[in-house]
């Protein structure tokens, strides 16, 4: 009975869920998570929007895209090296569950964090700024997909074989800054020179921002189905290097 695939699948889902709930209770209120995942996107947004004339719906689209992109990938690079240092990650690795299950549980931690922060940002945008949302369901789908994709992106950095969160904070933050400036968040995609636009297509944030533009002000440029497909594929693809790096960690002894 226990070895049947359906039972195993149920077990793995329950284990991923247990890891998720444990991490939420343990780490969401840690200063590192609050700083990197909560305060950074808001300060960034206000830094770039103050004294600029932005329509409320466009502002909400930018704020949500930035929130997703900074909040969701904050969990992996913070939690995994910390758990490695405390020895608690060994407990997870030695448990009877697949590595993919563990990584999915960890992905859900960052994703859920981003979803909650996005909900707060959206509420603020609608109530305070009076923004209207053109396609609420598309916005919900975008938040869901992008949060998982970006959380998986953060997991790549969290999987770097190290026990010090500081070792992965720098490359993880650097990557986010670079992608932020090439992804059509501050300069709309259709106003970019062709070379910049070509570069922007390599960033998953471009598609998340375009979807937000479709959903909030209704000004997206690309086909929303393409955007959704790219985000979905990104989330799956980002798990691959995370798995490979975990295998490397197992060889190195981290």
């Amino acid at each position: 009975m226990k070895n049947r695939p359906t039972q195993r699948l149920r077990d793995e889902l329950a284990q991923a869920s247990a890891v998720f709930v444990k991490d939420v209770r343990t780490y969401y209120l840690q200063p590192g998570m609050i700083m990197m995942g909560l305060l950074t996107p808001f300060f960034l947004f206000f830094s770039f929007s103050v004294r600029r004339e932005i329509a409320p719906a466009q502002g909400v689209a930018q704020l949500l895209a930035m929130t997703l992109f900074f909040t969701a990938p904050a969990a992996g690079p913070f939690i995994i090296p910390l758990e490695r240092r405390l020895g608690t990650y060994d407990r997870l690795l030695a448990a009877p569950m697949s590595l993919l299950t563990l990584l999915l549980g960890k992905t859900a931690v960052g994703a859920f964090f981003a979803i909650v922060v996005c909900a707060i940002a959206l509420l603020g945008g609608v109530v305070v700024l009076g923004a209207s949302i053109a396609q609420p369901w598309l916005l919900a789908a975008t938040v869901l997909l992008a949060s998982f994709a970006f959380s998986a992106l953060g997991l790549i950095f969290g999987s770097i074989p190290t026990r010090r969160p500081g070792d992965v904070a720098m490359p993880s933050m650097l990557m986010r800054w670079i992608l932020l400036f090439i992804s059509g968040v501050f300069v709309p995609l259709d106003e970019m020179p062709s070379v910049a636009r070509t570069v922007a297509y390599f960033s998953p944030l471009t598609y998340a921002q375009d979807l937000m533009n479709h959903a909030a002000p209704g000004t997206g440029v690309l086909n929303p189905w393409l955007d959704l497909a790219v985000l979905l594929a990104s989330g799956v693809l980002f798990l691959l290097p995370a798995v490979l790096m975990h295998r490397r960690s197992r060889r190195l002894g981290y």
Binding site: Q15, V19, K22, R25, T26, L86, G87, R91, L93, G253
Partner: protein, 339 residues
């Protein structure tokens, strides 16, 4: 008797094979079902590396591990369900209460929902943590965290338990409670793999011990058989009054003394023939008007065997003593445990 663990040619290089650090060097051993197996070695000998490979946390460079009939490289899942690890550092979630730590581990090991609460309560009561079940582990003492860490490791009733240095740093009461628990678990059928450098602990607990040194198994047998193989490290222990460092020179010069070690208020004289040495010690006391507070002959301890096998201490002291110099306590590298 079936083997719980079979290790064949197990090797671990950190770095490239041939160029990196060789931590475990083609090790072979088997652990029988239901035994307490001690894995002894000095720091850096390869104990923890071996244990991490046995618990799937580290990939071997070479070799094969079979646990409960399953090849660990290909069938880790059924093995992981049946085993558990208590690492050297208590890896509890400090932000969670004792109860929540246990519940989380129970979920991770898929303990049936209806049984989780009962098992958690039983373990917390056994470990004296029931009253503190809602207290966050960050407020626990080292001993309490250790007990919680062990409780977390056994909540799914594993048939194979790995313990890495379970008692160092604990007060005597906590250490004894943990040793009693290890015996009780073993009595209930759990196979125990105990990595330690606490020689006396291994002597008290283990059915068999393996001594690993420089990544290789140097000896493997029951503690008593190992001691019998090293009869040449017998000794006479004497406490004299008044005591003083000046006895050292004279005692070391007695015929047949190979090594002299000051142990607190006692002198231990290593010899191959204690019966010949005893009257000489008494004569020395009498001729110097000393009172013999205690006098005993001792067979080799597991610590003596360990030191002899790892070739670090007794040999060095013996050489210098034979040159007519006396070595005192402190010149001998510190080892945990006592006779």
């Amino acid at each position: 008797m079936n083997n719980a663990i079979e290790v064949d040619n197990l090797t671990k290089y950190y770095g490239r094979p041939g160029a990196g650090v060789l931590a475990v060097d083609h090790v072979n051993f088997a652990v029988r079902q239901g035994e307490i197996f001690g894995f002894l070695g000095p720091n850096g000998a390869g104990k923890t590396t071996t244990q991490r490979m046995l618990t799937t946390l580290l990939e071997p460079t070479e070799g094969r591990i079979v646990i409960g009939g399953h090849d660990l490289a290909r069938e880790a899942y059924p093995v992981k369900r049946q085993m558990s690890l208590v690492p050297e550092e208590s890896n509890v979630y400090t932000e969670l209460s004792a109860w929540d730590n246990l519940m989380f581990t129970a979920q991770l090991y898929r303990v049936p929902r209806a049984e989780r609460g009962g098992r958690a309560r039983e373990l917390l009561e056994t470990f004296g943590l029931w009253e503190k079940r809602h207290v966050k582990a960050e407020d626990f003492s080292k001993g309490m965290r250790r007990r919680l860490s062990i409780a977390m490791a056994i909540i799914h009733k594993p048939s194979l338990l790995f313990l890495d240095e379970p008692t160092p740093g604990l007060d005597p009461q906590s250490a004894r409670a943990i040793r009693d628990l290890i015996r009780r678990l073993n009595g209930d059928g759990t196979t125990i793999f105990l990595s330690t450098h606490q020689i006396e602990e291994a002597n008290q607990l283990c059915d068999r011990v393996a001594i690993i040194d420089h990544g290789q198994i140097a000896a493997i047998d029951t503690p008593e058989r190992l001691k019998q193989a090293f009869q040449r490290v017998q000794s006479v222990e004497v406490a004299l009054e008044p005591d003083g460092q000046d006895h050292g020179q004279a005692l070391a010069a007695l015929p047949g003394v190979t090594t002299l070690v000051k142990m607190g208020d006692k002198w231990r004289l290593y010899t191959e023939d204690p019966s010949a040495l005893l009257p000489q010690v008494i004569d020395y006391a009498r001729s110097h008007n000393l009172r013999v507070v205690s006098l005993s002959t001792l067979g080799p301890s597991l610590e003596d065997v360990f030191l002899e096998i790892t070739g670090q201490q007794i040999g060095v002291v013996r050489h210098e003593t034979q040159q007519g110099r006396t070595r005192r306590r402190g010149m001998r590298p510190q080892m945990g445990g006592e006779r």
